[in-house]
Every structure is written in C-alpha cells, then in structure tokens.
Amino acid sequence: MDLDFMWETLLQLLSGVPLTLNLAFTSVAFGAVLAMILALMRMSRVGILEAIAKAYVFVFRGTPLLVQIFLIYYGLGQFRPILQEWGLWAFFREPYWCAILALTLNTGAYASEIIRGGLQSVPNQQVEAAKACGMSGFLLFRRIVFPIAVRQALPAYGSEIILMVKATSLASIITMMEVTGLAAKLISQTFRAVEVFVVGGLIYLILNFAITRIIMAFEWWLSPHLRRPPAIEPRLEAAHV
C-alpha cells in the first residue's frame, strides 16, 4: 500500500462527491413525491388507479436499474426525431437528466411500498378518535395520519436513501464522473485496483454513515413519546419543622 498514491486518489475521488450527492438527493426528492402519489393511488380503492400503481411497482422493482438507465439513455435515442419534434431531446440527450429520471422512477417504486406500509400502520383507533373530535379530510391527514406514517416509515426510508447513494454509482456507466466513475478511470489508468477500491469504498462508507446518523437524529426528533420524560427534581421541603 502506497500512502502517497492513496492520498492523491482520495483528493481526486473527493471531487466526485458533490455529483454523487447531487444525483442521490435530487432523485430521492423527486422520487418521494412520485412515491407518495403511487402509494395514494394504490390505497385509493379505485380499481384502475390501483392496477396502474401495482403494475408500475412490479415493473420497476422487477428489472435491474441498469436496464432502466440504458432504456432511457440509449433506448429513447431510437425515437430521436419524435423527441426533437416535441422539444424533449435537450432533456434526453443529457446523461445527467437521464440518470436522474431513471433513479427517480426506480426509487419511486421502492419508496411507494415503504410509504404504503407506513400509512397502513396508522392505528385505526387514532383515526376514529380524530374523527370523533370532528377532524376530517386534509386536516385528519395532516395532523394524525401523516406524522404517524412518517415516523413508522422512516427507518425503512433511511435504508432506501442509502441504497440510492449506492445506486448513483451506475450513472458512471453512462459517462457521469461521480465517485465510482472517477475510481474506474483511475483503476484503468494505474491498474492499482486495491488502493483505489479502499479509498472509494471509504468515501461511500463515510457518506452512508453520515446519512444513517442524520436519519437517526430525525427519528429521535419525531418520537418524543418514546423518550424518557425529563426528570423532575424532587424539591426538598421541610416536612416537619
């Protein structure tokens, strides 16, 4: 192991971190919106909406992400004249936007199941109690269902975010130079796979560790009812004077 080489590798790979995080967080943000819509469709009890959501989840969870990326980046090139006519070619020509689109569609499918699980875990009694107080519709969702569902779904959503950080590495195959892309370039230039792997792996581990911690802090903040109540100092009062 050559420490000087590893230091240089570290500096080079760190320059890919902003793109990795950018890809991960942009797609997680868009994906969360998509997932919410899919989860609500799935629970809507409207046959056709339910069927669409089910089919969507089946297709996007049943095929490899790399196939989805290729389908969007290379595959849609087959319809270039049509896309140019619609003015969409500027979007599909960019590997960045293709990667974002594929990652968003993919995480939307996985996250919708997580959100659905969270929404379904809301105890019926709480909903009934809220209704008894006269809440309904959006107020009920905003005050009772949503907060409880988020709290339930958060741990699973945390692992999904970590999976997404790992999944951004596939964008390197369509020329995006994020951490894995830079690592692959360095390995093929220097043929020192082990050193580059150790440094690259370390970067991902640190990123994922930080994300886990943030999620845990968020979870703690969202569940005050599980924390011990602050101890009240017993006042010493002279009982018998």
């Binding site: 992400l65 790399l66 196939v67 389908l71 319809f79 951004t168 792997f197």
Partner: protein, 240 residues
C-alpha cells in the same frame, strides 16, 4: 433496406436475435445462480462469525456486513475484475509469463456477486438462527450429538426453513446485480442486448426485450420461492 418489424428482430428467423438473447438469458441465470450459491457459503460463514462468542469473530462479521452493504456493488465488481487480473499477472510473472492475464469474466462476476450477496445472506441466516428453539439445541447436545451433526440435523434444516423468504429477496437482488457484470464484458442478457442494439441501431427494442425477460425471471422465481415456502412450512402449525 426495409426496416425489420419488432418480432422479426427478436424472433428466431435468419435476421432475428432470438437465439442469442435466449443463450444470454441462460448466462444471466448461470452467473446469478453461481453467485447466489457462493453467497450462501460466504453468508453461512459470516453469520457463524457474527453469532460466535469470540469478540474478534464478531467484530469481523459485523465489519464485513457493514462494509459490503455500504459500498456500491459496481466498485466491488471493478475490484475483482481489475484486481483479479493484476493478481494473476503478478503470479504469472513469477512463472515467467509477462503481460496482462485476464480472469474469466464469469468467475469474476460470480465471485463478486457471491461476496456482496454473502453480506445480505449472512443477515438472513442470522435472523433465522435466532428464531431456533434453544431447547432443541440443548436436547441435541444432551443426546450426545457433536457440533457438525447438530448443524446438519438440527440447525441447517430449520434455519433454511425460516430463511426462505429472506433468501427470496436476496435472490432478486442477485438477479438484478448480475446485470452489472455486463461491464466486465461477460455476454449476459444486458451485454447481449447492448451488442444487438449497437449492430441494428434499434436500442429501445432490445432493452425493452431485456427488461421483459428480467421481469419473467423475477416473476417465475417469486412463484417458485412461494411454493418453496409453503412446502417448507407444511409440518408447522400456525396460529389463526
């Protein structure tokens, strides 16, 4: 030249790519299956380490699962592909051969999948082991079975039974991960579609075909795992 229709393109006719795609699907299944089996061996060993009483073994097991579940699979595949060749080259130069020696892509792929899925399978096996009834282990010891016999007769059959749902999930992961092996040049389903797409300039048709074939595989394997689960639970009385 007249444009071929979709079905002529992926069919089994003289200009169809059907046979090549089917062979490539077989390759995907083969590399995923070998990787999954390698992962079962790795997973068993790592789960054993994680459950062991020794501090060192536990630290190793926990470190293994944390690291391999936190690093992108693609990076591990690059390590095996390039690192394996470098290591073989170094060994080769000892024997006087010089230059680049490539590791067969199939071996690289199966090993990389095995190493990564081993981390996931270790967690599955560990969870299943913890459901085991302690009393049965004590009973086995009291009738004088030694460790290997207990493992074979008591632990392995029950752990496998409880692990089937988790193993099903891992298998789906492995199957999707096998698509990444295409970066090493192994002609599996995605690589073959890439080649066909390049030579016919019909990328969408081929990638959508690949997606459909992957869907068929996941669909069939979900069904098979469900069957296996029902079969494995045939002797168990369930509440409700």
């Amino acid at each position: 030249m007249q444009q071929l229709s979709y079905f002529e393109l992926i069919g089994f006719g003289p200009k169809g790519w059907g046979l090549a795609l089917l062979v490539a699907t077989g390759m995907t299944l083969a590399v995923a299956l070998c990787g999954f089996l390698a992962g079962a061996v790795v997973g068993t060993l790592v789960a054993w380490a994680k459950l062991s009483r020794s501090m060192i073994a536990r630290t190793f097991g926990d470190g293994y699962t944390t690291i391999l579940r936190g690093i992108p699979d693609l990076l591990v595949i690059y390590l095996f592909y390039f690192g394996g060749s470098a290591a073989l080259g170094a060994i080769g130069s000892l024997f006087g051969a010089d230059g680049f020696i490539g590791v067969p892509a199939f071996v690289t792929g199966a090993l990389a999948i095995g190493i990564v899925s081993g981390a996931y399978q270790a967690e599955v096996f560990r969870g299943a082991y913890q459901i085991l009834n302690r009393g049965e282990l004590e009973a086995a010891r009291s009738v004088g079975m030694h460790r290997w016999l207990i493992f074979r007769r008591i632990i392995a059959p029950q752990v496998l039974r409880y692990a089937i749902p988790g193993l099903g999930n891992t298998w789906q992961l492995v199957l999707k991960e096998s698509a990444l092996i295409s970066v090493t040049g192994l002609v599996e389903l995605l690589r073959q579609s890439h080649i066909a797409a390049g030579s016919t300039r019909r990328p969408f048709d081929f990638y959508i075909t690949a997606a459909i074939l992957y869907l068929v595989i996941t669909w069939v394997s979900t069904y098979l795992f469900q069957r296996a689960e029902t079969y494995s639970l045939r002797g168990i009385r369930r509440a409700s």
